[in-house]
Each structure stands twice: as C-alpha cells, then as structure tokens.
C-alpha cells in the first residue's frame, strides 16, 4: 500500500468541506471524538442524498481519487464517481488518497442524513468544520448494525453517554 492512502481524517474531512458536501460523521471516528478509547483508521459518513449534494460529493470523491475498497487490490478499484451513480447507491466502502471512507446513505437504525443532522454537533477541528453525529445516534446505529465489532465497543459508548447525560 502506498503511504499516500494512509488514514488522514483531517485531509479527508477538509476535502468534503472544500466541496461543500453536507454529511454527518458517524461510526468509529465519531465515537472516538466523543471519547471512545477505540481508535479507528477509517471515516464513516452519512451524506445528504439531495441531488445538489450528490454532485458536490461526486466532485469531492474525484478530487480525493476515491476507489472501491477490495481485498487484494491495495489502491482500490476505479468506479463511476458520478452523482447519478451515487443516487443509486446505499453503501460505498472506499479508499481515497486520505485513507478509507465509508459512505452510508441510511445507516442502520437511523433515517439517514436528515435524521442524524437533527441532533448532530457542528465543531471546527483545526480549521476543518465537522458535523458530528450525537453520541446517542452513534450508539443507536451501532446497536442496529449488530456486528460483533460494534457489540464490543458498545459498553464503553453507553458509559460515555451516561457521563454526558450526567453533566447536562
């Protein structure tokens, strides 16, 4: 694998910002930002499926050389990065020049972007604007996904949520 495709969350999210992509950060990276001790090496986002946003997302994916992640293909497989193709997709597991990026239009247990955006938190990290899913929503989607790797992280996330609620 080339170092150029090593995980760089800042570069990845900055590219989305530069192209004006509307998204909510979910999954392991969102959980880490909320305080989870598990460190992840990919970013999961739920993008808005609005037509204009898909065009912006397509441009961003082009700029970061997004390719389909596949076993045995270190730099990924080329694919049609058009807005039209994105409109027909539900999940894309990608590798980019800033590392791995998973797009999920309707993450398990959620109603997609609009649903997640309602309680999302907007923060600026080192100059990069990040729209971060609420911890309760991260937990909700991991619970619904029901994968073993999610199940292992859930106890720590629930404890964090209890602590968050105790401070409020």
């Amino acid at each position: 694998m080339s170092e150029a495709r090593a995980f760089d969350p800042e570069g990845l999210l900055r590219a989305l910002q530069e192209y004006g992509v509307a998204y909510v950060l979910i999954g392991g990276l969102a959980a880490s930002l909320h305080g989870s001790p598990h460190v992840t090496t990919d970013a999961d986002i739920a993008p808005s499926a609005e037509r204009e946003n898909l065009a912006r997302l397509a441009a961003a994916l082009e700029a970061i050389d997004a390719r389909i992640r596949a076993p045995g293909v270190p730099d990924g497989l080329p694919f049609d990065r058009s807005a039209e193709m994105l409109s027909r997709s539900s999940i894309l597991n990608l590798t980019t020049r800033h590392g791995d990026l998973d797009l999920t239009f309707v993450p398990a247990g959620t109603g997609g972007y609009e649903d997640l955006r309602r309680h999302a938190i907007e923060i600026t990290i080192r100059g990069t604007r990040v729209v971060l899913a609420a911890l309760a929503d991260v937990i909700r989607s991991k619970e619904a996904a029901g994968r073993e790797k999610d199940r292992l992280t859930l106890p720590a996330l629930r404890k964090l949520l209890d602590e968050q609620r105790g401070r409020d």
Partner: protein, 68 residues
C-alpha cells in the same frame, strides 16, 4: 457493497472487554482495510495512528470547550 457474501471469519477480542471466543465476521471491505494496514511499515502504521489520534484529541478538546 457491504455484504455477508464472501466474508471471512477471524478470531478477535478487545483489551477492554473479555476475550472474544466467537469468530468475528469481516466483510470484503474490512479485509481490504486490514490488508492495507498490514502492508504498511511499522513506522507508517504509527504515523497513521499518530495523525488520527492528534485529530481526535483536537476534536475532543473542542467538544470539551463547548461543554464549559
């Protein structure tokens, strides 16, 4: 793209939880990610983690400031 077909089963666990005796199913995208991480040199892997952790810590600090 994320599907169960073609998934492989590996043993796994977590330092924070009890050791996991059940096999964990990985889909092809996760296998690809593991392969690429394994292909990194030790230094590259550390660089990647350091970069991720630096970003995460900056984000956590920003969230903490908001809570104050």
């Amino acid at each position: 793209m994320r599907g169960r077909s073609g998934s492989k089963r590996v043993r796994g666990g977590s330092a924070e939880t009890e050791p996991c005796s059940q096999p964990i199913e990985l889909d092809p995208a996760e296998i690809a990610q593991l392969e690429r991480n394994l292909a990194l040199t030790h230094a590259e892997r550390l660089d990647q983690l350091v970069r991720a952790v630096a970003f995460i810590r900056a984000g956590q600090a920003e969230l903490a400031r908001r809570d104050e």
